[in-house]
Each structure stands twice: as structure tokens, then as C-alpha cells.
Symmetry: C2
Subunit: 246 residues, 2 copies
DNA sequence: ACAAAAGTGTTTCGACTACACCCATGC
DNA sequence: GCATGGGTGTAGTCGAAACACTTTTGT
């Protein structure tokens, strides 16, 4: 197995696994890019990634290639984004590429190779191939998921104050969010819980902030139905319609 | 171009483009499958699709292969779902497959080839490869999007009564929805509008229903923020934070 | 008149926003 | 005590669910 069985009717293509790795750094959302030394797109910045090898899945491939840039343990979350197949996306020849979204918690600052650097997502340098639009897709996905899931855990340190968490959300969402409401929404949903500890109060004084943590470090949908909720409390214990397991 | 440039470090794989085509038929959501005559999975049912050819994108490939089953014009919507890369997903050799979600409006009944048939999604026959789980993914995606977008247009005829639309939503969501609330939600959001016409009243009498249509036959997000809405009305005309175009 | 089907009025509810106010600390 | 930052109390708003009631047709 692992051998390729292509034919004129069943052509084969090299497949790239790419990662859009995002992290909030000093109040701005950044993406990890490396600078291409060679043509095509010499000098332009590209997403980390590379060829899908014979025995690995795409997910494993992304993780492996990312390991060449940072320790994989720093990744708080990794999910598939989308697959690009434009025959002209690589001028050297056809490749298919699958992009992943990766998130790194803000308290980590992994060492990067020489050619690799963080770039604010709102001020990208010239990008190679279709990687710029992949960053855009990743951004859209992250922002949507911040609203209806608990992905925040992958951007935040294990423990944090609400003010710190607010900074992360503001940076990631790109618009202002109040600490008050952020706290209440996430507590109400059971996404956040207080640790019981307190942070030291700042140099200028002020009430010390309570530390919080995310209840579960696993992706979960916390606001599943924007509308069209299934009929609510059912008095007789029957739930939903028959025929679907849910 | 179109020639493949693989190497040991850059192996190539045949790539499948598959379609999960869904339609509501007699109050149940169905998926289009064809029965495999040959091994592997002889007798099992598979998603329509096939090899990605040299000069086409995945989207074009899906459309082309679907054309072998039905006229493509019947498709109300087509979007990429996810890419599967398990090396063992095809016992004959490694392939990568990208699944698409396709929707056909309920008023159409396209002719199908001999080997192809509609199956209720809640009672699938034995499925080939990983196609069963792809159907599941498509279902999840459709259900989510019914709530926060106007995808309904791709399931419904050009004009319909609220009662008819309700049937479609109930079938697709798998749980009950009241006509009253469905109408109000969709009207409030500006997704639906009355045509001004009326449907003939039923055989048993009853008030004739007003006909409605979807305002736009293009996918649009109608309920973008579940929470973390950006700060509301801004008195000074400035919106959002600077630095992000949105 | 009565049944059937569609649609509206109205109440309730839950979740989020907004903003004023109170609390705890450093100086 | 007072500035600084954190947190709570509470009212307002909005969208949706629930359900009773009215409207319009056929028999």
C-alpha cells in the first residue's frame, strides 16, 4: 500500500498540507509565515506546510510540517479549513492544497526558524500563491467560531483574568468587546469558570482580578441554534422527531 | 500545464471529487447514491463523483461528474465540505477525496440513471468507503446553515406557501418547526417576501395561502453574530475598530 | 353552519447590551 | 483619601417560542 495508482483517466497530483497558524501577540492577531528564498514568489511570504507523504493523513501531515517550525505541543487547536484546486495555483505545476487553521495560546512564544516570522493579519506582507486568501478564510472561521464555540481556550493561557481574555477576543475579532459582557456570556454558557485564585493587582493599584480558566480544553459548540431551535422542553420526555439520532 | 511533477519527496495521489446531493422528497430528506457493481464495496451505495481531471478545479469536477447523473441546472447550491485523506480509505490504493454539498429544490424530479437512486438520510443502505460519514457531515452543515443563512432557497421551489416551506425545513432539520414562527423569523430577516399571489385552497377548503419567494437566490449569511456582536449603534459614525476591513 | 387551513395578536421568555454603581487594592 | 482597575446590579432591548384567536375558504 502507499503506492500510487494513477492513469490517464485517474491523474494524480502532489498534495500540499498548509497551516494558517494564528496567535494573539501584543494585542494583535498574527499569522505565522516564512519567506520564500526561491522562485516562484521569491521574497514573498508563505504558509508553513509541504507535501502530503505516502502514509500520513492530512492532519498528521500538517502537524509534522509544523514541527519543523515550532514544537507541535504549543498548538491549542487544529482543524481543517478548505481545499484549493485551481490548476494554476502553483506556476510550476499542478498541486492541490488543503489548508488548516491552527491556534497558539497567547502565553507561549515559541522559537521560530530564521526564515519564519509573525505578521499581523491586518498588515500582511506580499504573500505567495493563494496563501493570502487562505489567511482570510482562516480569519473568518476563527471569528465565527469565537462566537458559537469555546475555541477561545486555544488562544488563551491556562489561567487568565477577564481583562486579559478580553484583549484576546478584541484582537481576534477585530472589534471592541466589553469585559463585563464577555465574562457574563462565557460564564452563563458554562465555558469559563473562576479558579478561585486572584491575580496580583497592577502597579498602579486597583482591585485584584479573579483568575479564570476554560472549563474544557476541547472544542465544543456552545450556541448550537441561532434560530429554529427544536421544540423546547417536552413534557413527556419524547425529544425531537423520530428517525434522526442527532 | 496539467502535467504532473511528482517525485519521491513529493508523491502524487489520485483525487476524487464527490457530491452529497440532498433533496427533500415527500417530506423526507434524501441523498443521491449509486450502487457499485464491482469490488471494492460491490453492492454498496456510493456518492456520485470521480477523478479530478488535469485542467479542472474541484468545483468544476463535481459539476461535471454530477452531469453524468442529472442535469446540473437543477442544483440550487453547491459548496465544498471537507477533504478526506485516510491512506486506507480506498483499499485499492491511496486517494484523497473532497466532498461537496449539493442541494436540489423540491419541485424538481430529475431523471436518474439506472444505478442511481434517492435514499432517505435517516435510513441509509450500506455505504461504500467513507461515504456514509460524508453524508453525515453534509447533513450537519445543511442543518447549521438553515439556521443562520438563507440556504433554504436551494431546497424550495421558486414560489411556495409557508406550509410547504415548513415541510421542507422540518424534513431537513429533522425536528418540528411551526409555520407561524418560521414565517416570522424569515420575514423579519428579510429572507422571504410575499409574491402577492395566492395558492388555490386545498380540497377540503380552508383559507388560501399566500405565496412567498426567497428574496435572493444567492447564499447569504442572515444571522452573522450569535454573540459578541460588535458594539451597536455608534453615535459618531465610526464603526468597528480600525485595521480590519470586515 | 361547520370543518379546514392560513395567518395575526399577544404574551412570555431568554439572552445579550449598556451603564451606573460598588469593591479592593496601591500610593 | 483618592486614583486605579475589577466586578456586580439592574434596566432595557430584541428576537424568538408558544398559543389563542381571527380570517378565509370549501362543503
Amino acid at each position: 500500500m502507499g503506492s500510487v495508482w494513477s492513469s490517464p483517466e485517474r491523474p494524480a497530483y502532489p498534495h500540499q498540507a498548509l497551516a494558517v497558524v494564528l496567535q494573539v501577540r501584543v494585542r494583535r492577531l498574527h499569522v505565522m509565515l516564512w519567506e520564500r528564498p526561491n522562485e516562484p514568489f521569491a521574497g514573498a511570504w508563505a504558509l508553513p506546510g509541504g507535501p502530503l507523504l505516502a502514509e500520513e493523513t492530512l492532519g498528521a501531515s500538517v502537524a509534522r510540517q509544523l514541527a519543523a517550525k515550532v514544537e507541535v505541543e504549543v498548538l491549542g487547536h487544529l482543524e481543517q479549513l478548505e481545499t484549493r484546486s485551481d490548476p494554476g495555483r502553483d506556476p510550476r505545476g499542478r498541486t492541490v492544497a488543503t489548508a488548516y487553521l491552527g491556534l497558539i495560546p497567547a502565553h507561549l512564544d515559541p522559537a521560530l526558524p530564521e526564515d519564519t516570522a509573525w505578521h499581523p493579519v491586518d498588515a500582511l506582507p506580499p504573500t505567495a500563491f493563494d496563501h493570502g486568501s487562505m489567511v482570510r478564510s482562516a480569519l473568518d472561521r476563527l471569528r465565527a467560531k469565537l462566537s458559537y464555540t469555546n475555541v477561545g481556550f486555544a488562544l488563551a493561557p491556562p489561567e487568565f483574568t477577564i481583562a486579559e481574555l478580553r484583549e484576546l477576543y478584541v484582537a481576534a475579532l477585530g472589534y471592541d468587546v466589553t469585559a463585563t459582557n464577555l465574562q457574563r456570556v462565557l460564564l452563563r454558557r458554562g465555558v469559563l469558570e473562576p479558579t478561585g485564585e486572584q491575580a496580583a493587582s497592577g502597579r498602579a493599584g486597583g482591585r485584584p482580578a479573579a483568575l479564570h480558566r476554560f472549563v474544557t480544553p476541547e472544542l465544543a459548540v456552545t450556541d448550537p441554534f441561532a434560530v429554529f431551535r427544536p421544540p423546547s422542553r417536552d413534557p413527556d420526555g419524547q425529544s425531537r422527531s423520530p428517525g434522526y439520532e442527532g
